[in-house]
Structures are given as C-alpha cells and as structure tokens.
C-alpha cells in the first residue's frame, strides 16, 4: 500500500520535533522560582541565624554568585574571600559594615580597581532586597573574615523602599489565624450569605471566593473588606450589596484572622 505524502511528511515532522523535546528533557532541568520575602523586623535573631539567612540570600535572591565567587578570582567582580576583614581598610575612616552597606546599596560609590562598574543596587528592582535582607547579607559578608557587628538600625529605613516596585511581593505572612478566620467567615462575618469559598457553600450574590488568593493581592482583600465601595465591584455583580461596616463590627484580631483565612483560598 502506498503511504500518502501527507502521512510521511507528518510522521517525519513529528519525529524531528519529538527528538528536540527528548533532548531538552534529558539535560539539567532548572526552574527559576520567585524569591521569598524575609522579614526580621522586630524579631529576635542570633548572629548565626543572621549569617545563615544572609548566605541564603547571597546564593539565591541576591544573585551575587552570578558575578562574585568566594575563594576564586573572577573577571566580572572581586573574590569575596576575606572581604569582612578587607572592608575595614577599603576606605579610610569608614567602618567595615558602612563600607559593605555602601557597596550593596550604592555600588558605584567605590569600584574596586580592575573591575567594571556593573553591580546593581541590591535594594532596587530587579534584585529588590528589603531592609531585613540587606541586613542579613551584610552580616554574611562581614562573617567572611571579619566580625559581625551590623545591627538592623545600621540599615537606613529608606533601604528597600521601592523593592516591590508596582507589584506586591509574592507572599505576605499575616499574623492572623486562618482557622479562627474561617469561623469569622461563617459566623460573625456572615460572608457565606453571599459568597462560596471552597467547600463552604454560599449564595452566589457575590463572586465565588474559592480561588481568591490565586487571583488577588492581600492589600486588595483587606481594602475590599474595610471599604467595599471604594475597592470597586467585580464585573457582573450588583454594586453596593456588600456591607461597608466590617471595619466597625469586626475586632482587629477577627479582621486579621479573616484575611488570613481568605489567603488560604487557592
């Protein structure tokens, strides 16, 4: 039987593409995940924990390893082995921690001779480290041959102010209790009267909240509860139905619990 040309060409094309796919699947599979936010503000942290957190940032979110190495000279950026000790002598009259901080947030202020001025400010997008992360990273760099004495108060409050740019960080940890929030949702809040949420049934007066955390930001959810009119009405639903009184009727704890619960709806 004569095989039609279309079949032959089709099989040939599929075989070619399948071989490309096969090869791409046979090499190292590396995903690029969005970095997590680290917050140490107001928390107790030991120097050892701080250095460990800083090392993690050095290797991941900080993307430092792309150019810097420890114990090996690179062509793009200086070797960081012993930088904790060297930093104290880098600029006359400047302490080690002040020099390291300056290098991180104003890298062009002092460029080590022989290297191009290519380092970006780590507290600005796209790296966008926050204040806690800059603190931890400075501590890690100090630990490379020096003494760790940097404190959170040494990091200017302005550091990381634009870290999230116009987009919110991927995850925000709220102090609320999702379990208690679920109770608020079903009882005092009365949310189920108008919304469905996962396995909690509800009348479809308002939008289904089953995947709320997948599609909305925490700040929008908080604002929507406190000021439903100001946050706008989702297209396709009647405006002005959601009570504007939750800011008065819910306690602060109930509010945060409720938000924490809503953020579990993915």
């Amino acid at each position: 039987m004569r095989v039609p040309v279309g079949v032959k060409v089709g099989v040939f094309s599929v075989a070619v593409m399948a071989s490309y796919s096969w090869f791409a699947n046979s090499i190292p599979q590396i995903e690029s995940r969005p970095p997590q936010e680290l917050s140490l503000e107001g928390g107790n942290v030991t120097p050892a924990q701080l250095i460990k957190a800083g090392e993690e940032i050095y290797r991941t979110k900080g993307t430092c390893e792309i150019c810097h190495q420890i114990g090996q000279k690179g062509t793009r950026a200086p070797d960081l082995a012993g930088v904790g000790a060297r930093a104290a002598k880098a600029k006359p009259g400047m302490s080690a921690k002040a020099y390291l901080l300056e290098s991180l947030i104003q890298p062009s202020a002092h460029v080590v001779e022989g290297f191009p001025p290519i380092m970006p400010a780590v507290d600005k997008p796209p790296i966008a480290l926050n204040r806690s992360e800059v603190w931890a990273l400075t501590a890690f760099l100090q630990s490379l041959g020096g003494t760790v004495d940097v404190a959170l108060n040494d990091i200017p409050a302005s550091v990381g102010a634009t870290a999230g740019a116009t987009g919110a960080p991927a995850e925000v940890r709220l102090p609320g209790d999702p379990k208690a929030g679920k109770t608020v949702y079903m009882t005092k809040g009365g949310c189920l009267a108008c919304h469905k949420a996962g396995d909690i049934p509800g009348t479809p007066v308002g939008p289904d909240l089953s995947q709320l955390a997948r599609i909305q930001t925490p700040d929008y959810i908080m604002k929507k509860i406190l000021d439903p009119k100001g946050a706008g009405t989702v297209a396709g639903f009647p405006p002005g139905v959601m009570p504007p009184t939750f800011g008065q009727t819910l306690t602060a704890r109930e509010f945060t619990d409720l938000v924490a619960f809503l953020l579990t709806l993915k």
Binding site: A18, S21, I30, P34, P125, I215
Partner: protein
Amino acid sequence: MSRGKPVGRSAPLAAGLLLAAAAVALLGLPAEAQEAAREPAYRAFPWIGSRLAVWAVAQLHLNFAAFILGVPIFAVIIEIIGWRTRDARYDWLAHEFVKLTFAAFSTTALLGALLLFLFVGYYPKFWTYMTSIFFPTYWIYALLFFAETFTVYLWYYGWDWLQGSRKWIHVGLGVLSNLFGTAILFVANSWVTFMISPAGIDESGALKGGVWAAITNFTWMPINIHRLIANIVFGGTIAGAYAAFRFLAAKTDEERARYDWMGYVGNFVALSAFIVLPFAGYWLGREIYAFNQTMGITMMGGFMSWLWIIQAILIGILFLGSNYYLWLGMERIPGAERYRKYVPPMLIILTIGFMVWATPRSMVITLDEARAMGGTHHPLLGFLGVMSAKNTVVNLMILTTFLSYILYRRANRVSTRPWVRTGMAVQWAAFGAAAVIVVFYGVYGYFVESIVRIGFSVYQVLAVLAAIVVVMAIDVPLFKGARSTGEIRWGTIAPRSQYVLILLAVTFTWLMGLMGFARSGIRQHWHVYGVLRDTSPEAVTPALGYAANVITVVTLVFFALVMFIFWLGGLGEKGKEAGAHGHAAPVLAGGSDQDA
C-alpha cells in the same frame, strides 16, 4: 490572463472587522482604567492555567505574524525581478507566495484578537499598566493594520488589473504593504521590548515624559532588526516546505520541476537572510547586557545557560541542512561535478563547527566525577565551551555556507572574462583573509579580559561581511554572460532533498518558539522587568524540558493549521487546469540555465 475567484475573500475582511472591534475596545480602556484597577490582578484560565494559554496563543500568533510579514518582503523582490527581467516565472512565483500569505492573513488577525482578550481577561492588572504606558500606540497600531489590510487586498486582487504599463503601481503597492507591515512589527515590538528593558518611566513605573522614550528602549531596535530578518528566514523556510510538499505530491514532471524551483527559491531566500541573523543576535545580546548586566548574565550563564546549547544544535542542523540541500541540488546541474571535491572539506568544517558550538561550558556530572576532573569544566572541552571558540566557529560556518552558495551559483557556468584568474584569486584571498581574521581574534580572545573579548566579535563579523561583499562584487560581473555547461534539470533532484526543506522549516519554527521562551524567560518573575512583578501562582519560569514540550505541541498545532489553511487556499484551484487560475504556471523541466 484571467484570474478566477480569489481564495479567502471574506475571511480577511471578517478578521479585519474583528480586529477593528478589538481596537475600539482597546481605545475605550483608559476610561475604564480606574474600574479595571479594582478588578482581580489575575484570573485563572480553566484546565491549563492562564500562563500556558497566553504562551500557546502568543507563540501561534507570532508564527503566523512572522510568516505574513516575512513572505511579502521577498515576494515583492521576486516580483520586481520578474518585472525588470520580463520573466513571467518570477511573477507567477511572487503571486504564489502572496497567495500563501493571504490565506494565513485572517488567522493571524484572529489569533491576535484572541491574545488580546486573554490579556484583558486573565491579566487585567498587567494590561492596565501596559495601557497606561502605551495607549497612544494602540491608535497607531489599529490604523496601520487597516492600511496594511487594504494595501495587501489591492496588491493581491489587483495583480491582473495592474499589469503592463501599470505594473509599477502594483509593485509600489507591494512595497507599501511591506512598509506598513514593518511598521506594525515595530509598534508591537515596542510593547514586548518594554517588558524586557523598560525605559522612560520613574521609580514607581509611571511614564515620565512622552511614550517615545518607552518605545525606544534598549532592546527595541535590535529586536526589530532581528525579527525582521528572522521573519524572512521563516517565510522562506515555510514557503520552501510548502513547495517540498507539492513536489512530493506532484503527479507530473512539469509540476515537480515547478515546485523544485519554488523550493530552491524559498531555501535561497531563507539562507540569504539566515547568514546575517547571528549578527543581529549578537547586537541584541549586547544591548541586553548594556541595559542590565544581571539580566545578561542570567540569560547566558544562569538557569538559561543550557538553552543556548539547544539553540546551537538547532542552528547547526539548519546550517548542515541548508548546505546539504545545496549539494544535492548541484547533482541536477551539469558541470557541477567540478565542485564535488569541495564538499568533504566543507562538511568537515561544518561538523566541527557544529560540535564546538554545541559544547557546554559546564558539564552535567556527578560530584565524584567533578572531583576527578577537577571541576565542572572539562580540562580540554571546557576551552571550547566559551564565547571565543563559539564565535569563531559560527563565523567559519557562515563563510562555509556562503562558499557552498557561490559554488552552486557557478555550477553550470564558465566565465569568459579575461580576468577570470585574477578575479577568482581575489575571491579566494577574501575568503582566506576573513578566515584568518576570525581565527586570530578567536584565539586572541582567550588572552584578554571579557570586556575586550566581547569587542572582538565585532571584528570577526565585519571580516565575514566584508568577504561576502567582496566575493559577490566580483562574482556578479565575473559570471555575467558566462558560457553554460548545460541546463538545470529542475524536478530531478533527489526526493530526500525535499525532506531537508521540511526539516529546515520545522527546525526554524521550533527555534522561534525556543527563542520566544528565552526572550520571555529572562524577565523571570517580572511582567515588566524590575517594574511590575508577577505575583500570580504561575510566576515560576519553567525548566527547559517543560518549555520544549510546550513548544513542540504548539509547533504541531501551527503546522496543522498551516496545512489546513493551505488546503483551503488550494480548494479554489480544484478541478481547474494548472495555470488557468492566475498567471500561467511556468514550464521549467530542463528549461532553464539560470539558478534563480
């Protein structure tokens, strides 16, 4: 010459109207901006997720858009050749190419509208932000699309009407439709490139001055040029694959000869543009580094580093395939036997170049193996995995491919010029000098800093381009009025050569998908790099295996759609004598002593 009912008359009009409706909807967006800001940041697309939906539709749209923008560029050039040489074959061929474009035109518009709806519906916050920056360009885009649609209409439907003394008007329409098409490409590229390398905005992401600063960002012009050239390559390979399919399915020698010739022209177009494509790629890469070193280094040395190995393999296959097709083509040219001896050395250079280019810098090995080897870099192969070696071999591969073309070009010609020896000596000297310069800077690159080494690639590129210009400048007068050693036996090429054409089309389409993933992936978890963060659950940039699977599936869908559209386009010709529908199809079998 009469022309029957043209194909797809109503579909492009419907697509144009749909696009107009989409444009009107877009123009209303700013008025809704406040409301839109209160919409969810994301919505979840059922089953496959929003990202995959946008990815698939965007890649399909880009494939079709590249085809309908690329083909008319060389179609009008072919038409001009036919017009000036009064050779009807070229006019027929140009019309055939535009017919393919025309059939795909409406699908491109429909996919564009679908992509827009996906953005508005599933990424409303992102789209609102883009609108806040680029709203004025939406008007321009819509107007250009109208202009492009109607100009292509006139060009296609006026083919018979604007013949003879009015041919210049017809050619002018072809040129104009290309200008509109290129302008559309440039506008759309401003949106895409802004996402990679935003400019003209303040720290909060708001536009500082006019939109022009946002348009003329770092990567805009390099991507404009890169895409323009790549579209020509893509159009050439798809047209070549179409011709190959028709060749394989042909029932007569005449038909086989015609599509052999069409495939040759498609491959010639693709190859001519493909040779300069890597240079545009270098420029784009350099601008990415200039915009943001971190992005550049992440792209080349970070999680994406292995992507370039796959790219090297694909480009190596394209080089080898194109050359192999030329060598097979020489078998149907009397007199080409003289040049067979050059094939083995050229094959060796291409193969070695392929192997070096595909050599990874870091090996995938176990910890024990790494310890035994003294690191992740192989003591010998590690030297071949760096840019110095890769730039060198790619330039040598380009030179070799150009040599293949030159040999093909003169396969059945013997120059009668008295200065033939001198001319050829200068040509070989130009080849040799370029090769020496390329190798010299390749070796020297190992002994200098990276910033100096990057500059060397410019010298290597210039040497190759200079050689191409010098050789062609001599070759054209050298073989003008040359003695023929026999006519090209169109249609007698080995059938496997047609599978090479199909291989080239499939590989280049797949490569486009891969490069689309690279362009989008270097933004990582940012919709707009450093400005608008991707906070959706799908912000992860997937690994290469997943990306390759998506690219394969989308490419399959693309080719299925293309075959369906071409089949639809050919329905109008069913039952009619070949050549009765439009310009007379040329009779080529053994009837030409020209190469193109």
